[in-house]
């Protein structure tokens, strides 16, 4: 699964996710990537999120929206909200994967709880950072 979140000069956030799903899947199984609120979400007032992981868990936990909701209703930062959802709530339920999240001030979070996470970001200074974790 690949995804991207971005913040433009006008302060607008956007999120996108694209995937081939999982090998050997059957019966027209669909994961979280195309489910708004589960694998993809964006709201200028909170954050933009793209997720990658075991879709069934991400759908049931409404992961992307949950991060935004924690920011909106509990006043958490994007880093704390993403951490709470991916490293606590998802782990408690056995859900594996991670997210990228970005708020309207350019603060970003990239928590994950499993292997094979490829990440990259670039901020206004133009410095490109690419990381392949674990």
């Amino acid at each position: 699964t690949v995804g991207c979140v971005a913040l433009d000069r006008n302060g607008n956030l956007a999120a996108g996710t694209s995937t081939g799903g999982m090998t050997n899947k059957r019966y027209g199984r669909v994961g979280d990537a195309p489910i708004i609120g589960a694998g993809t979400y964006a709201d200028n007032a909170t954050c933009a999120v793209s997720a990658t992981g075991h879709g069934e868990y991400f759908i049931r936990s409404v992961v992307a929206y949950d991060i935004a909701a924690l920011m909106k209703y509990k006043g958490l930062s994007v880093a704390d909200a993403a951490k709470e959802v991916v490293l606590k709530k998802l782990v408690e339920k056995g859900g594996e994967g991670g997210v990228i999240a970005l708020d309207a001030k350019g603060n970003l979070a990239m928590p994950f709880n499993s292997e094979g996470m490829y990440r990259g970001y670039v901020k206004s200074d133009g410095k490109i950072v690419v990381e392949i974790y674990k």
Binding site: T1, V2, A6, G20, T23, G28, P34, T40, H54, G106
Partner: protein, 194 residues
Amino acid sequence: SDITLVIHGGAGTITRKNMTPEKEKAYRAALEQALKAGYAVLQKGGASLDAVEEAIHVMEDSPLFNAGKGAVFTHEGKNELDAAMMDGKTGKAGAVAGVTTIRNPISAARAVMEKSQHVMLIGKGAEVFAKEKGLEIVDPGYFYTESRWNALQKAIEQEKVELDHSEEKPKKPDMKKAGSRADDLIFTEGKKFG
């Protein structure tokens, strides 16, 4: 605002443990290319939606990632693609699921968001819609990659081996015992491999 762009890419079974230096170099180059493509849009004052679409195009067009060309196979040997996009300014959203002929599903998701009254279109209908909106339609064979095909054969083979050697019904996947996973799963009746 401080322009910012963040990406994630997933390759299924390939993690750092089994990645050769050449593979790692290739992945890093592709991720960097995606970042540059998206950042170029933002730097020129472009919209975040355009930047997201550009960055994802790069990864969809690369055979390295599980999206677009390079997508994994279903049990039936097809590449079924899903994508979604959301606009933080307006709250509009679009998605496609189970499409097999749209070269860049992320653009189809955006078209659903901007050119339809709906949020999600699936299968054949989504493909007809994408074609009507002028998106590039390809033969399903475009998405084929040998490594993903081999991964499917391996998954199917392991499924058979399990059935041949055990009269017990296949166990439900135990996510804690099944070991680590990447962001894309290879799924058999009793096992999953990330």
